[in-house]
């Protein structure tokens, strides 16, 4: 059970797609920094639909994307999509066996 931590934009870096190549059904992905922008793209919404996903709230708010991301979240499974703060991030890091920062 791994928490995959992605910080870079999916448009400029392959971190997210590389991580998806090696992910296991038990694992989760945490989107932080520019990585949150991928949620605006339909192909990433689709590829991430079946992954347990955490998104750092500060990073979507900072980019003015909260309303959009919330609207997108409505189409995603509530069971898999979580907007979290830093203390949740810490909690998730402890819950998972390890964190991989891609």
């Amino acid at each position: 059970m791994i928490l995959h931590h992605i910080q870079t934009s999916a448009l400029t870096d392959s971190a997210l797609s590389t991580c998806l190549r090696y992910i296991q059904p038990n694992d989760s992905i945490l989107l932080a920094g520019d990585a949150v922008n991928c949620l605006l793209q339909i192909q990433w919404q689709q590829r991430l639909a079946s992954v347990n996903l955490f998104v750092l709230q500060d990073d979507i708010q900072a980019r003015g994307l909260q309303p959009r991301v919330e609207a997108i979240a409505e189409h995603m499974s509530a069971e898999f999509f979580h907007i979290i703060d830093y203390s949740d991030f810490v909690e998730q890091s402890l819950k998972h066996n390890k964190v991989i920062t891609w």
Partner: protein
């Protein structure tokens, strides 16, 4: 003793990440940690022969790859998908390495204590 997997995912020379990853690998191995290396994406290009890093303005850190067995780093995995994407063959690799599918890399990432990505 902790087990450590070091993932290389960036092309050689364009950034210093390959060199940094190799430094961490050799340092950890000198401290008797059990180190595995995983090459994926464009980082598989590190393993091709006939490279002249100095010509690209980089330090020659590729030569140190040949010393890995002396550091007791015996597990070197190379992503077969990445090789295929770049049109490379296992026979073109310059060092002793195992070409494996994504599932084997997934297994390794799950099994080790820590994973560092460069």
């Amino acid at each position: 003793m902790k087990s450590l997997a070091i993932v290389f995912r960036h092309a050689p020379f364009g950034s210093t990440s390959g060199r940094e990853g190799l430094d961490v690998a050799m340092l950890s191995a000198s401290f008797e940690q059990q180190v595995s290396l995983i090459f994926t994406d464009e980082a598989v290009l590190h393993l091709l022969g006939g490279q002249t890093p100095e010509q690209a303005g980089a330090k020659d850190y590729l030569s140190a790859l040949k010393a890995l067995p002396l550091y007791d780093i015996e597990t070197v995995l190379v992503c077969s998908d990445s090789l295929q994407q770049l049109g490379l063959n296992a026979s073109e690799l310059n060092i002793e390495a195992e070409v494996v599918g994504a599932d084997m890399i997934t297994k390794t990432l799950q099994a080790v204590d820590e994973v560092l990505v460069f």
